[in-house]
Symmetry: C2
Subunit: 315 residues, 2 copies
């Protein structure tokens, strides 16, 4: 276990600044009235590849020495980490190999390829993924960048809330969706150091509530094949992210599928941004727990905006 520090976050921020956007913070009087809170939405969906994961990916990619960089990076992911790592590797001009289940959506594969990522398909099972990835890594020598359990990745994600704190002059609470815990860990790293009085909440789908159950139990519990519309939040915590979640998270709230869809539509309508179902989970839980947030200044991380526009969940 390697726990990144505030210094790692600051180095990451300096390193990735040319490649990553300082995304805007958006507000909505309507949503403030609705929740009774003052909400500051940090729009990571406005990153070029559409997700906060470009921060951690860029920190890993641009931190490699020349020898390793020549061999490139490698990962397994069927989501935003795959496209963000490909994007960062493209910016540095180095190879990126991605192992993806053959059943992954065509659009996700297209995005990875558009950024120059090379896809090796595996069967949609853990054993096939691990076997295929080991082979790809052995052949290419690519540096493994885990989607969230990598300290370089966590330090990169931590830069997001450093910006949020600056842009808002501080908040009473921050809330972010939780899957593997990369964004939440980065938030913990920055906020617990720079604004220790600020509460840190995580938001999770009821139908993939392994982080919630882990948090309550005091040890990592993994879900057995969770199924939720918030498809960015399916993966379990790992030791590095568990460290931050167990030590620094104030509480974890959950929301139902319908509550997530309603919050997603509400944000599209009133904030007028395109965001993924995963990114709607925080607002869904704020609406569900008004007493926790009422009267507070709350930073809400909109983690990503990659969504199939032909299949919107409310239509």
């Amino acid at each position: 276990m390697t726990i990144p520090t505030l210094t790692d976050m600051r180095s990451a921020h300096d390193l990735i600044r040319p490649y990553v956007r300082r995304t805007p913070v958006r507000v909505s009087s309507y949503l403030n009235e609705l929740t009774g809170a003052e909400l500051f939405f940090k729009c990571e969906n406005f990153q070029e590849p559409g997700a906060f994961k470009v921060r951690g990916a860029a920190n890993a990619v641009f931190g490699l020495d020349e020898a390793q960089a020549a061999k490139g990076v490698a990962t397994h992911s069927s989501g935003n980490h795959a496209s963000c790592l490909s994007y960062a590797a493209m910016l540095r001009g180095i190879p990126c190999n991605v192992v993806m289940p053959r059943t992954a959506p065509q659009a996700k594969k297209d995005t990875v390829r558009r950024y120059g990522g090379v896809i090796t398909e595996c069967e949609p099972s853990t054993s096939s993924r691990e076997e295929t990835f080991a082979k790809v890594q052995a052949e290419t020598g690519g540096d493994f960048v885990h989607p969230y359990n990598d300290p370089r990745v966590i330090a990169g994600q931590a830069t997001c809330s450093a910006e949020l704190l600056e842009q808002t002059d501080g908040v009473d609470a921050v809330i972010a969706p939780i899957g593997g815990g990369g964004m939440v860990s980065g938030t913990c790293l920055t906020v617990s150091n720079l604004a220790p009085e600020t509460a840190i909440y995580a938001a999770e789908p009821e139908q993939a509530d392994d982080a919630y159950r882990s948090f309550k139990a005091g040890h990592i519990i993994a879900d057995d094949a969770p199924k939720t519309i918030a498809d960015g939040l399916l993966v379990p915590l790992k030791e590095n992210t568990w460290h931050f979640v167990s030590n620094h998270v104030t509480d974890i709230f959950t929301a139902s599928e319908q509550e997530i869809i309603d919050a997603m539509k509400l944000t599209w309508k009133h904030l007028r941004v395109v965001m993924e179902p995963s990114s709607a989970v925080p607002l869904a839980t704020i609406l569900k727990n008004p007493d926790v947030f009422k009267g507070k200044r709350v930073g809400v991380i909109i983690t990503g905006g990659n969504v199939d526009l032909d299949k919107l969940p409310w239509i």
Copy 2:
């Protein structure tokens, strides 16, 4: 005819600053590659009521003296002007009366009422609208704020490109959708004075191309019942907007319904913002006229983001 000046724009900007957002400018490497231009999208869809029209409305509302303010404002509109004027009037705490066709979408009526606007319904014909509006105005004494032919409104809309010029450090061209010409006139007012070397383009649906035909003919031509998905662009030019369009616009381009829908979906997908069909017309014409824009820095006004999320045109 009363033509607003650069001084009017500056006074408007000082007056409305507390009530209107300085909206962000967004960029997309993907859309830049696709068009060969460097595009700067000014996101007026991020205004609280979702459209640039809050600028002109706020300038009219907050410019009233106390005696007139007590009687409030009045207008006829079935679109963004109605909700933006209601919103501005709500902020000042004065009455706003709106005449709307009874056939207007329920969502538009709901928005006006949410902001405290009082709706009087008319039949969907010019004669009924004028008759009903005359009656409402006589009864209430509300100051008539025309959706675009009002110099206060044009001076308010002109503040948008003043911000755009500051935020981009100047551009080679600006392009905005054209309906009645309020935004384009405001853009002409500011850009022709502050950046006279910058080209000013207007973009219009083929199926509502009255401004295009007026521009080519050299006099105002009104369409007979135009029909387009870009429902913010149905109205004809009037003398104040014609003044700016005929004197300062470099050229007007048109796009088909399908081209508008494609550009709208492209923007949702890659810029990840929710915008109206009307706001997609500029990008549609940029894609259609690549030689005009290639290699140029181009400001693109995203005019509004009020769209029925249950009825997206590509689904």
